[in-house]
């Protein structure tokens, strides 16, 4: 229950017109742009998944050529991962990190602008491939050669889009590290940082280590196709499996890049709505760092069936199983935060708890898949599709959406419509399970992934899955409506917004002025993280 301490209205003028957005160096505006872009891309990727689920609704090929179907599968993933999930995470970071640490803005505001505006450009490159000879990429988002090299004119566009996305992410990561390292208000020590900031610091280091590797891998694809190299061509002395090693060396840390910000959001939401401090703050920091560190040693669990030597398979099995330990520690710490708290279940809390339940389901199947000999049956089936969608959709996406509901009143100064929020949650939570749970069954029963058609034994479950998908997709429109309605108006939000909210960001007005903390605040244990 803090009074709002700081009002910097005397120069709260904002730029106007389109220049405000094109040339923005303001972390709040840039954060908003990232989030709006992410929401649009979420529906673009979502539309592609609707094409997939429409075709899979019944056995037989009804709507799309199998080649186009493969493009849908491929671009759905690329758009969701690089266009929706990552920009949404960076959007939340941009909005919240400076306010959480008492800084006036990000360390490098112009670079921040560039990081954002690269994204629409990169996606124009990628999506333009649909109109080219040979079509859009159709070899899976994992781009394995030799298949990906059969892509027609679109290959350079795919590669350059990836390069630009990587540059955007790396610059964003640099900005976040510089901001947190150099611009914390006096008294804001590292161990007083909100956990959302910690998870973003760690994510930023993962980005710097992993994205260049991805860029290297796709560059090697480009030179194999156009400049006579044979990195991945056995006839030239190369090895297609080497691409997989390089890709997944990036790819596994990438999934933690995706999830750690969502974990950070959950670590802000649960203490607030439990009215209790986060349990085991220090362990949470170490657990997150351990997960990030270990993530570099498990990549080949995506490749258990390539024909690795026994020692390799065993090493990666043990390392993969090991990651379950710090992940479990985080889940238990969140539960201990709830335990003996005084909980209320507003929409952000519903999404956070939804993540706890359903990310855990994804975690369990992940552990199952880490057991190499059994993965020989699971690999490349719908069991895998079920696993990663559980950790991504009711995992990461619920975390991000929870963050949006949590912080919308701060950003806009208006409370969102709680009834609509709850409706959005329940529709999403139920339909997401109808959509993804049966995928475990059909995967175990023998349905491979990335296929447009299947034997009739899988028809019944596929029909249910598709129905779940349609309901889930439509339900997300409620989020758009909630956001628009909230921006337009609503019950006025206080500075603190939520009864259990603690932290510097909750001392600012709702909405905060264009420039905040131009004078650093005073930070004591009382004003620091929950």
């Amino acid at each position: 229950m803090y009074e709002a301490v700081l009002h910097d209205d005397h120069h709260d003028h904002k730029p106007t017109g389109i220049g405000r957005w094109l040339f923005s160096t303001n972390h709040k505006d840039i954060g908003t742009m990232y989030l709006v872009f992410a929401l649009i891309m979420f529906f673009v990727g979502g539309a592609m998944s609707m094409v997939i689920r429409a075709e899979l609704f019944q056995p037989g090929i009804q709507y799309v050529d199998p080649q186009f179907y493969n493009s849908m599968v491929t671009v759905h993933a690329l758009v969701m991962i690089f266009g929706a999930l990552m920009p949404a995470g960076v959007g939340l970071a941009n909005w919240m990190i400076p306010m959480m640490i008492g800084a006036p803005d990000m360390a490098l505001p112009r670079m921040n602008n560039m990081s954002f505006w690269i994204l629409p450009f990169a996606f124009t490159l990628l999506l333009s491939t649909f109109f080219m000879q040979g079509g859009a990429p159709a070899g899976g988002w994992t781009m394995y050669p030799p298949l990906v090299l059969q892509l027609g004119d679109g290959l350079p566009y795919l590669v350059f889009a990836v390069h630009f996305l990587g540059i955007s992410s790396i610059m964003g990561a640099i900005n976040i590290i510089a901001t947190v390292f150099n611009m914390r208000a006096p008294g804001m020590t590292f161990m007083r940082l909100p956990l959302f900031v910690w998870t973003w610091i760690i994510t930023a280091f993962l980005l710097i280590a992993a994205m260049p590797v991805f860029a290297g891998a796709v560059t090697m694809l480009l030179t194999d196709k156009f400049f006579g190299t044979a990195f991945f061509d056995a006839a030239g002395g190369g090895d297609p499996v080497m691409f997989q090693h390089i890709f997944w060396f990036f790819g596994h840390p990438e999934v933690y890049i995706l999830v750690l910000p969502a974990f950070g959001v959950v670590s802000q939401i649960i203490p607030t709505f439990s009215r209790k401090p986060l349990f085991g703050y220090t362990s949470m920091v170490y657990a997150t760092a351990s997960i990030a560190f270990l993530s570099f040693f498990v990549w080949a669990h995506h490749m258990f069936t390539v024909g690795m030597p026994l020692t390799g398979e065993l090493f990666f099995m043990y390392a993969t199983m090991a990651i379950a330990v710090p992940t479990g520690v985080k889940i238990f710490n969140w539960m201990a935060t709830m335990w003996k708290g005084s909980m209320t279940f507003e929409t952000p809390m519903l999404f956070a708890i939804g993540l706890l339940f359903m990310f855990s389901i994804g975690g369990f199947t992940g552990l199952m898949m880490g057991i190499t000999p059994v993965d020989f049956q699971y690999h490349d089936t719908y069991f895998i599709v079920a696993h990663f969608h559980y950790v991504i959709v009711p995992g990461i996406i619920f975390g991000i959406i929870g963050g949006i509901y949590f912080w919308l009143p701060k950003w806009t100064g208006n409370m969102y419509d709680e009834k609509l929020g709850k409706l959005h949650f329940w529709l999403s939570a139920i339909s997401v399970n109808v959509l993804f749970f049966p995928m475990h069954f059909i995967g175990l029963a023998g349905m491979p992934r990335r296929i447009p058609d299947y034997n009739v034994q899988f028809a019944d479950w596929n029909a249910i899955i598709s129905l779940g998908g349609f309901v889930f997709g439509l339900s997300q429109l409620i989020l758009v409506w909630v956001v628009i309605k909230c921006v337009r108006g609503g019950e006025k939000a206080t500075d603190q917004v939520w009864e259990g909210a603690h932290g510097l960001e909750w001392t600012l007005p709702s909405p905060p002025p264009f420039h905040t903390f131009t004078t650093p605040p005073e930070v004591t244990d009382a004003t620091a993280h929950s």
Partner: protein, 380 residues
Amino acid sequence: MPVDKLKKIVLGVTTVSLFMMSGTALADYMNVLNLTEGVTPTSKMVYDLHMIILYIVTAIGVVVFGVMCWSIYHHRKSKGAVAEQFYHSTAAEITWTVIPILILVLMAIPATKALVFMEQTGDAEMTLKVTGLQWKWKYDYLDEDISFISSLAQDSNDARQMGSGIDPNTVENYLLDVDNYVVLPIKTKIRILTTAADVIHGWWVPALGWKRDAIPGFINDNWTYIEEPGVYRGNCAELCGRDHGFMPIVINAVPKAEYAVWVEEQKAVKLAAAAGADREWTKEELLEKGKAVYAANCVACHMAEGQGLEGLFPALKGSAIVNGPASEMIMQVLNGKNMMPAFKDLLNDVDIAAAITHERNSWGNTVADTVQPSDIKAAR
């Protein structure tokens, strides 16, 4: 009354159950729930491991979700709960770090045993070489010098075309049937080599208990020992292009005596084909055979009316090569080009000659000559 997680679970179960009750029988859903036990020692080991791990994670889930549900119910503000303010406990942290580690070690032991067992590829009694192609499998029985291609069965292939009007439910083993089964003897240790000719494929028959990638330029070493006779079906398990979903695998595992008979039959067929290559074929014979060969080997890319697929596969109808000199067309078919494989390794002289003749006489192509098997033999 705040809606809590218990209600959510009930709602979820009810929704799924309602879907299940509607329409078809429950059994249709229940059969398609779990991994198969399979018919090999490997598959059974893997199944048992899968079930153990499934039980363990389910048990953990029940405990964890149970505690969460209890907390949600009991520690609610609306129920009058007042928040305590503890935020650490070293004892708790140690407990929930050590216990998971112990559980994991317990899981790792049988898992390691199973993996070591699966790596023993030595002392095999016969070897089958599997080559993945876009989009079919080639099988070479290395000890018997038998070789054939196995493609999606015609009825499935017809039904799966967009707008075919054929209901997949009327096709037996839709998308899981092929023209040439892989016949294998039971109770024999069989070494299975997997490789590919173009892109990475994956060879998977769930009943055997494993899958392995088929990688161009590399050979992977696997083995199996099938205990029970029967027909076992599988799929390509690595995205390999447009028809990745349409190149299944069918094994017919038979008693050893029956296998020996089949081997002899295959050798006889091969001799007859070689003999066929030495004689002169009539145009009618070539066209009839060519139509079948085309349907099994060429139609996936060049399509039923020779029209190809815009941007991906060239049309044969009105093609310069098809309507040009026969020798050029023969070289292209034998040696392949870009995504088109080199058919010299895949088809015999009779089949190639027949297919070429068919193409040069179809869809308005006016060359109307014939190409004899001896022409192909000479060109190799």
